[in-house]
């Protein structure tokens, strides 16, 4: 009786979800309310967690509560600690949540809110959450080994080497694109630049506080840090209005790029307690707090979505990024629905702390569903903006021209109504001189968030405060990622260099340290600078590269998962990972192919290089380049981008070959050949 009642309740809930989704998908003409979209997403996530998540847990992975996890077997109170599943959920979510799921959906909104929403929902249920869950499980069965190590053990040394190269390349491109997002947000904005710069002394103070004044008092220091941050947002407003101070914090993109490059180098060789750790604490808490605040505000305000469900840019002619819906929508959305990076996190500290295998469903599958919900909120914030404002902020300067008048005219050409006065007023409201051509997602999201927050807590100047709060929140964790990521890259480079000249591997040696750090910073700095001077806006070039890299990493993780399932003799269920693997491999390869060979110069790197090369041969100068030297630089940049893109494709194809080889070998054998740590029963440990 009880069971029947529960089934009926689930059925009703499913019908409710289907109705919400139907409204989102079918409503045309007048704007729909965001609450439909939010309700549909929650319904999809809950049902997916209850049914598909459970199906994977019970049938595919066959989670075994009687099997001791590494945390139980190797409990040391430090790295391996059996942890309450909700506490560990918090840890895992803090590690996977980043800037990606906020930026991707904002950029994807150029095609309307519908394609992005659908891919976030279906992508996360059938691909993203599956990947996180399966990798977390596989790592737990292997003492918490990292993805790279697991690939080497299960698919062979060559596959491990290829995976490592792929991970290093994605690291470099990730850092470049995130740094570019910060540059785009802070260029010519003294308010933003001042507040973000202030996070450095604030972090120093917190570091000193936690080390010398009140050792180990993380929460105290973070609360003080937060108060200082809010004060610095207020002070930034004063700075931006002062004729004396404002020029000191006003920089163009190039200057900011150089400053970030210098910062990345210095920050990643400073002791961790002084800058990296305190700012990581601050950004983690601020991030979780802001996400919660945004969710609450969206429920209270439930804004209408101004963006149409579909725009005409699904044909690939959009001003924000070029390329048609397939494959570029999936590449652009990236982390919001599938993120290869999570495979690194899921094979990091989380598997070492799970108290029971069965917790993996909540932490792995559930954690990614929450991340997708963050992506949905970012999409809501972007789609709630006037489309005219959205396109003014995200189209390149080459299209808009420099003034609000030319921009309003250009946007009307695109088919969206906006007046110069509205553009000027929006800039004034948020305390900036201009909102034009601020591609990169962060400023757009910040305006969207500011409008939503402003509807809850309004007042004189509050809009500008909320805008800069949102910018600070994004810049803060991007900067943390830059110095943490530069360190990761440095160690990878040292390991690679070490294979050529052994002494460079010593991580304590200053020579090895400085050389590898410099190489890493040069790597991402080069792409960053190229992005800043790119006349098409940089994001246009770098974000697809990053998206391809991220989906490539997810494809790697999923290929590995398929091969291991076959080695475990679970062929019956291999479709659960094989379906998303196939999709991701097709997406990355088609997108990679188009970025290389598409005849449209806005999409294909080689076509663009040829366009500029031919013009040089004719002695012509193509706008927006101003000299033959600039033209030559465009040609070189496009060849480098093409080479990187080809590298990503080679990594995917060769991992696919290694995976298939391992899978066929496992099929021929009649034994289970997966290399798990031997079974230990939980009951045998309890003394």
């Amino acid at each position: 009786m009880n069971g029947l009642f529960a089934k009926l309740a689930w059925l009703l809930f499913a019908v409710f979800g289907a109705v919400c989704l139907g409204v989102v998908a079918l409503q045309r003409g007048e704007p729909i309310n965001a609450i439909w979209l939010v309700a549909a997403s929650i319904a999809v996530f809950v049902i997916a967690y209850r049914y598909y998540g459970r199906y994977i847990a019970n049938n595919v992975l066959q989670l075994d509560p009687a099997r001791a996890t590494p945390a139980l077997r190797r409990n040391d109170g430090l790295d391996y600690v059996p942890t309450d599943r909700w506490v560990l959920f918090g840890h895992h979510f803090a590690a996977i949540a980043g800037a990606g799921p906020l930026v991707g959906p904002v950029l994807a909104a150029q095609m309307g809110y519908l394609p992005g929403t659908l891919w976030i929902l279906f992508g996360v249920v059938f691909a993203g959450a599956v990947q996180d869950f399966v990798i977390l499980f596989l790592s737990t069965r292997r003492d918490g080994r990292s993805l790279g190590e697991m690939i080497r053990n299960e698919l062979g040394n060559a596959a491990g080497g290829v995976a490592m190269l792929g991970i290093l390349a994605i690291m470099i491109i990730l850092l470049a694109v995130l740094a570019l997002v910060v540059v785009k947000a802070l260029a010519m904005s003294p308010w933003g630049t001042f507040t973000v710069a202030m996070t450095i002394p604030i972090a120093f103070f917190m570091g000193i506080y936690m080390r010398w004044l009140r050792p180990g008092r993380i929460l105290e220091a973070s609360v003080i840090g937060l108060v200082l941050l809010l004060l610095s947002i207020w002070a930034g407003g004063q700075v931006s209005q002062s004729t004396e101070w404002a020029p000191l914090f006003t920089f163009d993109g190039k200057m900011l790029a150089w400053m970030l490059i210098g910062y990345g180098f210095v920050a990643s060789v400073l002791p961790v307690w002084l800058l990296l750790a305190p700012r990581d604490y601050l950004s983690t808490f601020l991030k979780i707090g802001t996400i919660a605040l945004l969710a609450l505000a969206i429920f209270i305000v439930h804004p209408n979505l101004q963006m149409p469900a579909l725009t005409r840019f699904i044909d690939g002619s959009g001003p924000v990024w070029a390329g048609s819906l397939f494959p570029f929508l999936f590449i652009t959305l990236a982390c919001g629905s599938v993120s290869g990076f999570h495979a690194l996190v899921s094979s990091g500290t989380t598997p070492k702390m799970m108290a029971s295998e069965t917790d993996a469903r909540l932490i792995g599958y559930g954690g990614m569903l929450v991340e997708a919900f963050v992506a949905i909120m970012a999409l809501v914030a972007a789609a709630a903006l006037q489309p005219g404002v959205y396109f003014a902020m995200n189209s390149p300067a080459a299209l808009l021209g420099g003034t609000v008048e030319s921009a309003a005219a250009a946007i009307s050409q695109l088919g969206f109504v906006i007046t110069p006065e509205m553009l000027a007023q929006t800039a004034k409201d948020i305390g900036e001189t201009t909102i034009l051509s601020r591609a990169g997602g962060a400023p757009t999201l910040a305006v969207g968030m500011a409008q939503i927050f402003h509807s809850v807590i309004s007042g004189q100047g509050m809009m500008a405060f909320w805008y800069h709060y949102a910018i600070l929140f994004e810049a803060l964790f991007i900067l943390t990622t830059i110095d943490a990521g530069t360190r990761v890259g440095r160690f990878m480079i040292q390991e690679l260099l070490g294979t050529v000249y052994a002494p460079l591997r010593h991580t304590e040696s200053w020579t090895g340290n400085l050389i590898a750090t410099a190489l890493c910073v040069l790597g991402w700095g080069w792409f960053l600078y190229q992005g800043v001077v790119d006349p098409l806006g940089g994001i246009n070039t770098l974000w697809p590269l990053f998206g391809i890299a991220n989906q490539m990493l997810a494809a790697l993780a999923l290929i590995f998962a398929c091969a291991v399932l076959i080695k475990m003799k679970r062929e019956r269920w291999v479709w659960v990972t094989a379906v998303p693997t196939t999709w991701l491999v097709i997406c990355t390869l088609v997108a990679g192919w188009q970025k290389l060979f598409h005849e449209n110069a806005k999409i294909g790197f080689l076509a663009n290089a040829r366009r500029f090369g031919d013009a040089i041969a004719r002695g012509e100068i193509l706008a927006p380049a101003k000299s033959i030297e600039e033209m030559q630089r465009v040609v070189v940049n496009n060849y480098v981008d093409a080479a990187l893109c080809a590298l990503f494709m080679i990594v995917v194809i060769s991992t696919l070959v290694f995976g298939l080889r391992a899978a066929f070998a496992a099929r021929r054998s009649d034994r289970v050949s997966a290399l798990e740590t031997p079974y230990v029963a939980v009951s045998s440990l309890q003394t």
């Binding site: 790295d79 309450d84 560990l88 918090g90 840890h91 990606g100 750790a277 993120s339 990076f341 943490a484």
Partner: protein, 71 residues
């Protein structure tokens, strides 16, 4: 009446304790009391690290090789 208040108070204390543990682990510092308890049970002959040493050790371990975090 005072019983109920006492019970509410201890429930609030427990919730706060769990929140603090969650927040600390979110930045990679596991629970100190759990560590001390583990040392007492399994390595009674060794002196456990002090709260400050524990904090430093965990911070260094978390960032020693950089830290993979998501985009």
């Amino acid at each position: 009446m005072s019983m109920t208040i006492e019970r509410l108070r201890s429930a609030a204390r427990e919730i706060w304790r769990q929140t603090v543990i969650t927040a600390r682990l979110a930045v990679g510092v596991p629970d100190y009391d759990t560590y001390v308890e583990h040392q007492r049970l399994h390595h009674a002959q060794r002196t456990p690290m002090s709260r400050q040493e524990f904090f430093r050790e965990r911070m260094d371990a978390r960032y020693a090789r950089g830290r993979n975090r998501c985009c």
